[in-house]
């Protein structure tokens, strides 16, 4: 009566490594993310056997091991991918968001339209629980370089004060200012360009 039992155990023990290596084909895989800004990415996987390209959004490429060829990419449903990456999706940070606030000519007064952006900035800070907000001041090229350096600093300071007034802590914000040195739109000197009179707020 004992012998058949033992044989069963031996069989299970022998087949275990086979089962594990059989699962191996799904132990390593890459899923290409959906296109961002209308562009689909492309990557190349190079094993010791050769290389293969994955360039279709939402497709998965299985790779059995370093000494195998990557498999032909196949379809994977969004639901399956969400389930496989549930734990890691929960901690994946939001991409930093950048806001441009515009100013009146030669002044540290925000345009009316830009004043209305402040709630969106606060919302972005809240969503990210951000403690990492960069405020970067700029000017156009009317007026001297020295004057513009100071103006860009004053503009950044105004935005800092607004956010400070909305209970964002000072130590969570960093002020930078570039004067006229980093225009968004390149112009000749002394040209008024409203799009360059700006403060960028980067919420990270």
């Amino acid at each position: 009566m004992e012998h058949p039992m033992n044989w069963k155990i031996v069989f299970v023990l022998l087949s275990f490594p086979l089962l594990v290596s059989g699962c191996g084909s799904k132990e390593n895989f890459i899923i290409l993310s959906p296109a961002s800004e209308g562009l689909v990415g492309a990557l190349e996987v190079e094993t010791e056997k050769g290389s293969a390209i994955l360039d279709e959004e939402g497709k998965v490429m299985y790779i059995a091991g370093l000494t195998s060829f990557p498999a032909e990419p196949t379809e994977i449903s969004t639901a399956e991918s969400q389930e496989l990456f549930r734990d890691v999706l929960q901690v994946h940070p939001l991409m930093p968001q950048s806001f441009l606030l515009y100013f009146q000519h030669s002044s540290d007064a925000l345009t009316e339209k830009s004043q209305k952006l402040i709630p969106a900035i606060l919302e972005a800070v809240k969503k990210r629980q951000s403690r990492d907000i960069a405020i970067i001041g700029h000017t156009d090229r009317t007026g001297g370089e020295g004057y513009n350096r100071i103006l860009s600093m004053e503009r950044a300071q105004v935005v800092y004060d607004i956010l400070r007034g909305q209970n964002i802590k000072g130590e969570e914000m960093t002020i930078l200012y570039h004067g006229e040195a980093n225009p968004l739109v390149h112009t000749a000197d002394d040209v008024a360009e409203p799009r360059n009179r700006r403060v960028e707020v980067m919420v990270r």
């Binding site: 191996g24 132990e27 390593n28 895989f29 890459i30 899923i31 290409l32 993310s33 961002s36 562009l39 990415g41 492309a42 990557l43 190349e44 996987v45 190079e46 094993t47 010791e48 290389s51 390209i53 994955l54 360039d55 790779i63 059995a64 091991g65 370093l66 195998s68 990557p70 991918s81 496989l84 990456f85 734990d87 890691v88 999706l89 929960q90 901690v91 994946h92 940070p93 991409m95 930093p96 990210r128 403690r131 990492d132 990270r204």
Partner: protein, 162 residues
């Protein structure tokens, strides 16, 4: 040449060689030490137990902690971490994971770009940032099944098993 003089020369040569070596070591090591200490990103998302292995010491990770070049990050069975690099690249890792942040260089003003990561084990989300946009070819990822390189700005999810 008399034997004594040869010996003298040999000794001088040895001393010079040793001196050069010492100078070389002095030059190389402080520099590499500085490079190792470079901040490359921050912890933005965190759950469960996550540790950072740095300079041979393991410390628990907390939200908003800084990540340095050469750090190895390990997650426990309930751990997960989301990292934001200086160029806005996002890298997250799920439970029982291991990744080393081998190299990160992002200096657009000098056209210097490099990102090298070793994804050893676990589930990963890689979301490309400015570096991936400006210099996709400067991204190189090692995995247990080979090397991943970017042909253009690319984001992906992956699972690797050591």
């Amino acid at each position: 040449m008399p034997k004594k003089r040869i010996r003298y020369w040999r000794n001088t040569m040895k001393k010079t060689a040793l001196g050069c070596l010492a100078l070389l070591l002095l030059c190389v090591f402080p520099l590499s030490a500085v490079a190792e200490k470079r901040i490359i990103g921050k912890v933005k998302g965190l759950r469960g137990l996550v540790s950072i292995l740095r300079d041979g010491r393991t410390e628990p990770a907390f939200p908003n902690d800084e990540i340095y070049q050469s750090d190895t990050i390990l997650t426990g069975s309930d751990g997960a971490i989301g990292i934001l690099l200086e160029d806005n690249t996002l890298i997250s890792m799920g439970p029982i994971g291991r990744i080393s942040m081998d190299k990160f260089q992002f200096t657009p003003s000098r056209n210097e770009y490099e990102l090298r990561l070793h994804m050893m084990h676990g589930t990963f989300i890689y979301q490309s940032g400015l570096l991936g946009k400006l210099a996709p070819h400067a991204v190189e990822l090692q995995t247990p099944v080979g090397r991943i390189s970017m042909l253009k700005d690319t984001s992906f999810k992956a699972k690797f098993t050591e």
